[in-house]
Symmetry: C2
Subunit: 428 residues, 2 copies
């Protein structure tokens, strides 16, 4: 199945803003509530959301084997489980439908009014029902920074780090789409020099800039996925803000890992950009420093992607300051390695599972992916445009993360994940 | 809503073996495949499985507000989400239907043939679709044993342990019901004195004897569950075998916790015994050694349960040796504390979520809940009845865990979780 939809020369009859993250070459997938309060699966071109459920009912996917209700669902899980051939057929067909030279939908006003929505008419939902969520820890720069701050500066990377794409299980129930605010969490913290922990609001709420990938149903219990087959099981990617409460984390995480410091919320960008759409932006991961065990060594070395990322903080009634600019390509471990490792013990992966990269920190201090690193655990507060300072995130701050790929022909973006931090929840 | 179904004096017209785990006072819930290959929700009395979907269609639940298809599902999630009042009504009604003095079903041969199954006619399935699975670490004896073996024998308990019901997120996709065999996992291990890890089969496959509880939809994002309301959100319990690969665990678990060492499989007993059925077996948890923060301090102190537990190992073509006898009441942290802690940061809990206790080790060496502790990391191999020795679990061994409560009036049991360990999976 060819990647017809990627043709950089294709133009659409829709009106697309310059520099849009969502040209006709993107065609991401998401779930939204329409102006009529119907939940449907859709795609986005420019600033239009397109109701794929309606398009399907109107016969535009004729010839592609799809069940009648495949898009009339509140999650993409079943569509994703249909497999890569189906995703590609649908994406190619959407490209044809909106191609400048195709007048079928363009000239049918009734159909157009049924399937096209302005963004302010819809409400984006979680694109998948996440079965299991895993968070990796795959940036060498991030792991090194954390090791320097909290462990031994001379041996910042732990002994297993260069051999294993270290990861851990996270909480899927608190993954939310962009736009939903998050309350500052409370929990146990151990003050310096105290005898006993205290309970109260986290004072060190942080973001973590990550990307996550979404899988299809991949393997039965007991059967690993070989690294060179891993990408067949990856549907696409989103931007992932792994909210973290550093004071809670510090007290709770030994020996079984982060728990409540993370599980209060993780926010994602709502449109899943397919791995197919990212194809032009393949790049190599950094060269391995230690020899890789064979199950982590892929034949093809271009298993990473060149994705520009940035984080902005907007205080209440103020303007945004971009506090980090980095790139997904800095990640030491790539998605194929992560998925091969995750399943090498026979762990089954299902449609809609989500695996996040871990904080994406680049080589320079302005490319770090968390306030912990950017402010060096609060020792170097960041100056915001409005004159305020930030060591961590304050109540009513909005954190926005954006990501896009760009070459001389096309820009493929993720849009944004935007989340406001609210004060501690008070029971009425 | 009263706990009518718990009446210890009630007898049933069904033929029940002496000392059954499933007298008419139990009435657990499960999901099974019938002889006609229909999936249904059911209960068990003695050695009969009872098709609740069929009972409902025949009108036996008249007067209880239930949707028509509530029992004709492949998981209990929706039924559990209906809430405690519904669980109690249904359990009370089942007790009435099978009461010795009620002839309605007893005297209707057609109905009896439709709803009653012998155990060998059915195949038990996962009772719930587990959204998120959390594993706690709540036995002081277990945490102390592990601390002695791998950290500092004089400071075996870590500083946070007496303040926090320590827990971590686990993998829900690999939770399987009793009867499904598990392949020995492969993974990275770091041999003593080596420079680099090797890849291969785990040589230290272990069980962990745990109990798990299943929740209903409990709280929205951001809103904690107060400790005294926690039990309202607990549907019931199962026995939980948290399979573990000790050599993989040792190399991978710092700093983010166990991952592939656990996610290859966890096995559960298939009948969920309701918290209501366990009511007569309430008991106090051990007295707190350190003062509890208020959110972990419940008004009522009888928040634990007196559940006898045992583990047996049966080598291929041999007989079983019971290697551990212990009790759930030894757990330092109880389920109410675990659930209050888990949600104190606002983490949402959904219907079908599963939370396991952590390894249940008692105070004496024969009451430890893992081979790691029973054989003291292999230094004291266990002698089996057939003369063989075991440090850990060997290929073709079957591990069975059983649990029951018993007083002078009634026995409420969980049945068993039985799992065979197969050799490493080989691709054909």
């Amino acid at each position: 199945m060819s990647l017809l939809a990627n043709d950089p020369k294709r133009k659409t009859w829709l009106d697309i803003p310059d520099n849009s993250d969502f040209p006709i070459q993107n065609i991401p997938f998401g779930v939204f509530l329409t102006r009529d309060d119907i939940i449907t699966i859709g795609t986005r071109i420019g600033d239009y959301a397109i109701d794929l459920g309606a398009l399907h009912q109107l016969g535009y996917f004729e010839g592609i084997p799809l069940t009648d209700d495949i898009f009339l669902q509140d999650s993409l899980n079943d569509f994703i489980a249909d497999g890569r051939k189906t995703w590609r057929s649908v994406r190619n067909r959407i490209a044809e439908i909106f191609d400048k030279n195709n007048s079928k939908l363009k000239d049918n006003k009734d159909h157009r009014q049924t399937v096209l929505f302005k963004l302010d008419e819809i409400e984006m939902q979680m694109p998948v029902q996440v079965g299991d969520y895993t968070d990796f820890y795959s940036s060498k720069e991030h792991a090194t920074n954390v090791g320097k701050m909290f462990r031994d500066p001379d041996n910042a990377l732990l002994p297993n780090w260069l051999h294993i794409p270290v990861g851990y299980h996270g909480r899927s129930s608190s993954i939310i789409p962009s736009g939903i605010p998050v309350h500052r969490p409370q929990g146990q913290k151990m003050p310096k020099g105290a005898d006993a922990p205290i309970f109260g609001p986290s004072r060190l709420v942080d973001f973590e800039l990550e990307m996550a990938f979404v899988t299809t149903a991949a393997n039965p219990l007991g059967q690993p996925i070989p690294i060179d087959e891993a990408e067949n099981n990856i549907f696409g990617m989103v931007i992932f803000n792994d909210w973290s409460a550093r004071d809670i984390q510090k007290w709770e995480y030994v020996p079984l890992g982060p728990f409540l410091a993370k599980s209060f919320a993780s926010s994602i960008s709502p449109w899943i950009v397919t791995l197919d759409a990212l194809e032009p932006f393949r790049t190599e991961s950094p060269k391995p420093i230690k020899p890789l065990l064979p199950y982590l060594n892929s034949k093809d070395h271009k298993k990473s992607f060149d994705i520009n990322l940035e984080v902005g903080i907007t205080p209440k009634n103020s303007t945004e300051t971009v506090v980090s600019r980095t790139n997904f390509k800095y990640m030491y471990w790539n998605m194929s390695q992560q998925l091969a490792h995750h399943t090498v013990n026979g762990c089954p992966v299902n449609s809609g599972d989500m695996m996040a990269s871990g904080t994406i920190s680049g080589p320079t201090p302005d490319s770090y992916g968390s306030m912990l690193e950017l402010s060096w655990r609060g020792e170097k507060p960041l100056k915001l445009k409005d004159g305020a300072e930030r060591k961590f995130i304050e109540d009513h701050d909005t954190v926005k993360m954006r990501g896009y790929c760009q070459n001389h022909e096309v820009r493929i973006g993720f849009g944004e994940v935007s989340t406001k931090l609210l004060p501690v929840f008070k029971d009425k």
